[in-house]
């Protein structure tokens, strides 16, 4: 764990990535940290597909299974994201992600395996998940992966709860999924943007400020591995079960919440050529970087290099 002053900040490792917490008033850091640690532990127990004892790992196919309130919220958020993106962000990609080789914590993945990948199969489809707000029915052959939304949901929950508990302004970044809540610094929360959330802190492509809401980035440049000479990554096109065709390397989106921002940034990577229009139609400020490094922005996103 590392700490800094003004704003007071702490960074820990969690959910297979880094969790950064910043508060405007240094005295509030400890209380905010308690909120963060409790939320991170809870989301891991509820939603981690790498823990055999997690709630999501113990869901049985073909039967109605009551779930706890946090997994219920995570499932509802994932299904809403799928609905909002017409299936471009689909939680039923569980088997497809595993088939690509992402079947354990990323740190434990063989980054250059010799075995070729099996033929990809389209996701079964989020609309096949039975859901009444309390119980879930997974048809046989359907496995959930909440990776596209659960981390962002956790950032939203930590920031809003820590701000409510401490009364001060809070910024949370979980692996680059950012949410701010509560009072705002005079010039807003300064956030570095880049392909890699860790490198961006020291060598950003751009620094922007936000006063409220969320900012998320989806990138095919991080969390990659190779199978039989082919490079793959963690973003799956549910229509094919394979990685997206590949127009964008990195997409950053600002939205009302971190979940909304991450839903849109992931959908944009999957949508490819249609992404700028899709984002513009929804008035979502975004920065899209293509495979050659060319940048397109939408809906008022500032295109200006960091000073």
């Amino acid at each position: 764990m590392t700490r800094t002053e003004s704003p007071a900040r702490t960074v820990v490792t969690a959910l297979g990535t880094t969790a950064l917490l910043a508060v405007l008033e240094p005295d509030a850091l400890e209380a905010a940290e308690r909120v963060m640690h409790a939320e991170l532990a809870a989301i891991d127990v509820a939603c981690s597909r790498f823990r055999p004892d997690s709630e999501i790992s113990r869901l049985l196919a073909g039967t109605a299974t009551p779930v706890g309130p946090l997994l219920a919220e995570a499932i509802a958020v994932a299904l809403l994201a799928a609905q909002q993106t017409d299936g471009m962000v689909d939680p039923t990609v569980g088997h497809a992600v595993r088939a690509l080789g992402y079947d354990r914590d990323f740190a434990d993945i063989d980054l250059d395996g010799a075995d070729p990948l099996p033929a990809p199969q389209a996701a079964p489809g989020w609309w096949r998940v039975g859901w009444d707000g309390h119980s879930v029915v997974l048809p046989r052959g359907v496995a959930l992966d909440l990776g596209a939304t659960a981390k962002a949901l956790s950032a939203d929950r930590i920031a809003t709860r820590a701000a409510a508990a401490t009364g001060t302004g809070v910024l949370v970044s979980l692996g680059g999924d950012v949410r701010v809540a509560g009072p705002t610094p005079d010039d807003g929360w300064r956030i570095a943007v880049g392909d890699d959330h860790e490198r961006a802190l020291v060598d950003p492509d751009l620094v922007v400020s936000i006063a409220a809401g969320g900012l998320a980035t989806s990138s095919t440049a991080r969390r990659t591995w190779r199978r039989a000479g082919r490079t793959v990554h963690h973003i799956v096109d549910p229509r094919t079960g394979d990685i997206p065709a590949g127009r964008w390397r990195t997409v950053s989106v600002a939205a009302a919440t971190c979940v909304d921002a991450n839903t849109a940034s992931t959908a944009a990577v999957v949508l490819g050529d249609a992404a700028p229009g899709w984002l513009t139609d929804r008035r979502l400020p975004a920065r899209l970087v293509d495979l050659d490094g060319a940048v397109i922005t939408t809906a008022g996103w500032p295109e200006r290099r960091a000073a």
């Binding site: 609905q83 017409d86 010039d187 961006a200 936000i210 900012l215 969390r223 009302a256 909304d260």
Partner: protein, 102 residues
């Protein structure tokens, strides 16, 4: 008494035996059919009586049927990620946090 005479004394006419088997089978079938008819008739009568006497309420739906399947298609104008209150602004100075691939 020879064994040959004994066998002749107890010999059975095959045609008579066949008639007895046919008659026997027919009798059993008729009795069984009647019994089945009486049994199912009473069941139907009982069910009809209960249905008539019972108050008319909707049957309880099974658990799985109660679970809703979300609408596949929606109007994006009504259901979409919400934009921020204001767009990000250019900023100077050291960043507090970062957004990028993880």
């Amino acid at each position: 008494m020879s064994s040959h005479r004994s066998r002749r004394a107890y010999a059975v006419d095959p045609r008579a035996a066949g008639r007895r088997r046919v008659v026997g089978a027919t009798t059993v079938t008729a009795v069984g059919g009647t019994a089945l008819a009486v049994f199912f008739g009473s069941l139907f009568a009982q069910a009809f009586a209960e249905e008539s006497a019972a108050p008319k309420t909707a049957p309880a739906a099974p658990v799985q049927a109660a679970l809703t399947v979300p609408e596949k298609k929606t109007d994006a104008k009504h259901s979409a990620p919400k934009p921020p209150a204001s767009a990000p602004q250019p900023a100077h100075g050291a960043p507090v946090g970062s957004s990028g691939g993880s």
